[in-house]
């Protein structure tokens, strides 16, 4: 991998990788570290992977997911999933309430998304925020297309049900 390829194909998706890491770890600092480690790894191992990797984005997403899960497991970081919909008060924890200008309802929907079971949360994230195809989601999460669809449907249904009770 040359610097040009790295610059054109890997660097631009760093924000995407960061959001993904943030979704999994729930920690701004952890997510930043994950992205840094992933970028370094991609750069260093690129020569041996250059022929096998066809889709650098999917490859990076997989690395990000694995690294984020490692961090979450090893340090047993609790992701911000408050039961009452109010974000935990921690300077480091990712809190949807960080965007102060958005309405309370929007913040609560973000909290609902963060409360979803892991698989549903990641599928919904990759589809509705990163706008990946079902194929790409299946590859990034290493699950079947059927699993992608089922989890996405469940995630959206849960969000809808909670929104209905929120409004009423």
């Amino acid at each position: 991998m040359t610097w040009a390829i790295f610059h054109e194909q890997v660097l631009p998706i760093r924000h995407k990788l960061y959001r993904f890491a943030l979704r999994i770890t729930g920690s701004v600092h952890e997510a930043e570290d994950v992205v840094q480690e992933v970028l370094e790894k991609v750069w260093k191992t690129a020569p041996e992977n250059a022929e096998n990797v066809q889709n650098w984005e999917a490859w990076c997403m997989t690395l990000t997911r694995n690294r984020s899960l490692d961090k979450t497991r090893s340090q047993s970081i609790r992701r911000t999933a408050p039961l009452d919909g109010i974000a935990e008060k921690s300077s480091d924890a990712y809190s949807p309430a960080q965007a102060l200008e958005s309405s309370d309802l929007v913040q609560r929907v973000k909290a609902y998304m963060q409360e979803l079971p892991d698989k549903q949360r990641l599928v919904m994230h990759l589809r509705d925020i990163e706008e990946l195809s079902y194929d790409e989601i299946a590859e990034a999460l290493n699950i079947s297309m059927e699993q992608v669809k089922v989890n996405l449907h469940r995630a959206r249904k849960t969000i809808r049900d909670k929104m209905v009770t929120m409004v009423n």
Binding site: W3, A4, F6, H7, E8, L11, P12, R14, H15, L17, Y18, R19, L22, A31, E32, V35, Q36, L39, E40, W43, P96, A99, S102, S103, L105, V106, Q107, R108, V109, K110, M113, H125, R127, D128, I129, E131, S133, K149, L152, H153, R156, K157, I159, R160, M163, V164, V167
Partner: protein, 200 residues
């Protein structure tokens, strides 16, 4: 878009049957402002999705990306060093002939003063610089225009700092080289003077 169209898209969205394009249309509709009152209850989700899409990594990882660039600067710097050294050696050889005949050793001409030396380095490094800088520069300009975020500035600052560090390195090496060169040249001076004293 009309209420009926959005309503139909929404139903399919909840069932997980919408395409990416249709989902983008929903996000666009609910973030554009003019939302039909009957659809207000659904708006927060699509507004939340939009907000989440705007989350970006701060400059930290950028410096990781720049690290390989440092290597290129280091390479440019070593080329500059080699050229400077070669140039000096050549100058020394050329001057050694007239030096033998002239009573006054020509140290100033053999030894470049710091000013010209720095110019020489700048001239050597410069052809490299556009190649390295072209792409990052293009990339930085685009987001600056599209999203009026001043976020680019810290990134540019990092890039500038790294370039400065690289140039400082070159400069330091050159200073060291210059000192050694001056030292060697003073030996030459002594050697040139010794036989003449004997003759005289």
């Amino acid at each position: 878009m009309k209420y009926e169209e959005i309503q139909a898209l929404l139903e399919r969205y909840w069932e997980g049957e919408t395409s990416l394009e249709e989902e983008r249309a929903l996000k666009a509709y609910f973030n554009a402002g003019a939302i039909d009152d009957r659809l207000r209850a659904e708006a927060p989700l699509f507004q939340a999705l939009k907000e989440e899409q705007l989350i970006e990594l701060k400059t930290k990882a950028r410096s990781v990306g720049l690290r390989p660039q440092i290597y290129q600067w280091a390479a440019a710097a070593s080329v500059a060093l080699l050229l400077a050294a070669g140039w000096w050696m050549l100058g020394k050889e050329k001057n050694s002939m007239p030096l033998a005949n002239q009573p006054q050793p020509q140290i100033p001409s053999a030894m470049p003063d710091p000013e010209t030396q720095h110019h020489e380095v700048a001239a050597v490094v410069e052809p490299q610089a556009p190649i390295i800088n072209k792409k990052p520069a293009k990339r930085r300009v685009q987001p600056l225009l599209s999203s009026n975020q001043p976020k680019i500035d810290p990134e540019t600052a990092i890039a500038m700092a790294e370039i400065k560090a690289a140039l400082a390195l070159v400069s330091a090496k050159l200073d060291k080289g210059k000192k050694q060169a001056v030292q060697k040249a003073s030996y030459l001076d002594v050697v040139e003077k010794l036989p003449r004293k004997k003759e005289g």
